[in-house]
């Protein structure tokens, strides 16, 4: 479903990852590991297409990615249903019920999103993935502010998504409690070219 080959990406103009290659096939989940600042977010944004790669290629079908970043994209002054219905409209899907059920939001449907707790907001943000109908979920620290129960709910949702032929690529520190490959990014840290004494060729790297 997703093939990354020879990828190099930069953050703020400085290369941080290079020679990164991996494959993700339908039905699988891949967890990115590595210390803070290694470039997990940068990699996810590059895969999503928000950021152009420095080098290498990201091969995936067009319109395959649903991205969930640090911010949930939730409007405080809209209700839970309105928030979800907006995103369903954007992605051209109709049915909200399965997504609401999967993230245990059914009792909250008419609440304004601004009155939700942090964990509930997060669940709403993740429910957006379910209404997107996209096969590849790209998740950046999805379990932040989720309690143990909600985390289990999330893990089950990812498993179900994979079982239905989807795939998930995520950056997370915690163990989700199901079979997932993991990829350590540390070996791919970009090595900067040796600075020549008076070499302006790499002036801007």
């Amino acid at each position: 479903m997703l093939t990354v080959s020879g990828l190099a990406c930069a953050r703020g103009g400085v290369p941080i990852l290079e020679n990164l290659s991996f494959r993700l096939s339908a039905g699988a989940a891949l967890v990115l590991r590595g210390p803070n600042g290694i470039g997990k977010t940068t990699l996810l944004r590059t895969v999503t297409g928000l950021q152009p790669p420095l080098a290498g290629q990201v091969d995936l079908a067009p319109d395959a990615v649903a991205y969930a970043g640090h911010a949930d994209g939730i409007k405080a002054m809209l209700t839970v249903t309105e928030n979800l219905r907006f995103w369903a409209g954007v992605f051209g899907t109709k049915d909200l019920a399965p997504a609401l059920a999967a993230f245990d939001l059914e009792r909250l449907t008419d609440r304004f999103a601004g009155t939700l707790s942090a964990g509930q907001k997060r669940r709403l943000g993740l429910a957006r993935l379910a209404v997107s109908g996209r096969p590849l979920w790209v998740l950046d620290e999805p379990t932040v502010s989720l309690d143990a129960e909600s985390t289990a709910l999330f893990a089950k949702a990812v498993q179900r998504h994979c079982a239905q032929g989807g795939a998930a690529l995520m950056a997370t520190h915690i163990d989700l409690g199901f079979e997932a490959e993991s990829l350590d990014l540390a070996p791919y840290r970009a090595r900067l070219p040796e600075p020549g004494a008076d070499d302006f060729d790499e002036a801007f790297l």
Binding site: Y67, I74, M77, L78, E82, F86
Partner: protein, 218 residues
């Protein structure tokens, strides 16, 4: 894409959406003018078309950063950029929502405020028409300015500096139509020129704005 428009309108209408702020600002500017100029109705009548246009333009400017800043802060812009609808369309819809919540009320309020400034009778129709034709350009150009400054912490002032020079042609033609209308002169080429600027802005600005948003999202 209609969904984007509908959501922005709903957000503007609900509490904290800032709907009506631009209108109140317009009112205050117009009320302040006689205090600065003096209550002489013949002078006020002469400068009314220009003041009303300038007031509408400033009121429009005031709310520009809301077009994109809120969606930037809560991450919606990231998600919209990866959505199947083109970013250009999103920008166009957001500009349209801005016009419906800011531009259109200004157009409707301008004749009422014209009374306060003793606008000559033949001017009302032309003033309303020129604002109706000109304000869409202000929203479209403003969306581009908002896209340029969306990543900045305090971009409001910079936004004004960038956008105001771009408003000059619309202001010149719009105020000219209103002035000539008020003085009973022939309108001439200003009307099609103003409409042309608006149409061209609506056609081109979404592309420039979408390009700027993509750069800012990197």
């Amino acid at each position: 894409m209609i969904g984007v428009l509908r959501r922005d309108l709903a957000l503007a209408m609900r509490a904290g959406g800032g709907f009506g702020l631009g209108l109140s600002f317009f009112l205050i500017v117009v009320v302040l003018v006689p205090f600065a100029i003096g209550p002489d109705t013949s002078i006020l009548g002469r400068i009314a078309p220009g003041i009303l246009w300038l007031g509408a333009l400033l009121a429009c400017l005031l709310s520009l950063d809301r077009i994109l800043a809120l969606d930037w802060e809560d991450g919606s812009l990231d998600l919209l950029a990866t959505a199947p609808i083109p970013l250009e369309g999103v920008v166009l819809m957001k500009a349209a929502a801005h016009w419906l919540t800011t531009g259109l009320p200004l157009v409707l309020a301008a004749p009422v405020l014209g009374v306060l400034l003793n606008l000559p009778v033949p001017g009302y129709g032309w003033l309303t028409l020129s604002l109706a034709l000109g304000t869409p350009a202000l929203s479209a150009i403003g969306a581009f300015g908002a896209a340029l400054t969306v990543g900045l912490k305090r971009g409001g002032l910079l936004l004004s500096l960038l956008v105001l020079p771009l408003y000059v042609p619309s202001l010149i033609f719009g105020a000219e139509i209103a002035r000539r209308g008020a003085e009973g002169l022939a309108i001439g080429a200003a009307l099609p020129l103003l409409a042309g600027i608006s149409l061209a802005s609506l056609a081109i600005m979404p592309f420039a704005a979408a390009a700027a948003i993509r750069v800012n999202l990197r």
